[in-house]
Amino acid sequence: MQLSLGVATLLWILPLVLEVAISLAMLRRKLAGQYPVFFSYTVFMPVRGILLLFFQAVAKPYFYVYWGGKAIAILLSLGAIFETVSTVLRSYPFLRRVVFRLFSIVVAAGIIGALVLLISRWQVEADKLLAQLMFLERSARLLLVCLWILFTILMSRLGLTWERYPLGIAAGFAFYAAVDLALLELRVDLHAIPDNFFLLLRSAAYNLAVGIWAFYFLCSRVEKPVEHLPSTDLGTWNHVLMHYVDQWYRRS
């Protein structure tokens, strides 16, 4: 019992410390302006954690801080996806426009779908309210998972290269979104894991996500500026491949 309490405390404190360290590293490297949403997230999460500690004995404020904070955290996670897309695709304005449009449609459809389902079965009794909040959280996580899948596949298919910080941000958020959604499904829908184990696993998953961010933001890496560009045969390859495209594809 004491061991699990110790582990839970460690899993609670560790990400707070790491997030403060990440925020400071971002300020020192002038990255806060470059990734404002992610920076806000790393500042917001420790603040929420400390507020929850203060209100842990008072049920009502704790409830509002917990669920209000969770809603803000999810909105910031959603914002982080758009921020990552914007950063990674900044050299490809056309692609960025297409991806933003696609993502906006997915987000709008997801929000409308979740709200319609929620309104159709809205009840205000305490236990029902909690179930509805859990349902909203699961819907939001599912939306995040779908957006990350879409974006990762697009990046991989177009062979676009990830930069270090967007890769770290994306990996951390995507990992946490995937594990958290799976855990919520196993707990809420399938009742496959007990409550305390669920909380412990969820906390561990968040710690791993923060660990990923810490790895990418706290370990520095030197990139040497390029003084000239190499000669390439991209033009020749493009010419050869266009020949096959013309030969093999019938234009409509």
């Binding site: 056309f94 990350w148 062979g159 990996a171 990139e223 190499p230 493009n238 093999w248 594809y249």
Partner: protein
Amino acid sequence: MVSAIIILFLSGCLLLLVWNVVHTKAPEIRRLEDWEANRHDVDIASFRMLLDHGEEQLLKSALSVRRFRCFQRKRLRLAWRMLQLVERNTAMLMKVGQLARSSVDPVLVHQAEDLIAAALRLRVNLLLIQAYVCMKWLFPGWTAPIPVCETRYRQLLHSVVQVRQQTRGESLIVS
């Protein structure tokens, strides 16, 4: 139950994708020397030979159907491997272009933008060629063209060039 399975499947997919992105086998490009050390030399003439229609017809007439299919698949596998190497080269060149874009020299920045646009154009072409090679591997004797929405494809390529020129124009006005 069905929704739970779909959700768990999606979560698993995302975890695999994240693992794939983080543990990519592609070499890290931090300086120009990394490109020189990791680039793959792919012979265009050999690639053309592997996909040459005349060679394919010659093999078809000289070999039995079974032998032809086997031989043609070997040729397509080789072509596929070459396309993969070109794909890796393109990804590395995109990274070199990104590094060069942070330079203070405006000429180098423009050249880097040209390089990135050419690499992106090649990636789109590679996708189309890979899809066709895949179809040819499944049906080695197949010669019919695949219908494609040309207008969209041309629009994509055109917008890449247009955006590049636009960016160049804007930066010239600023300077």
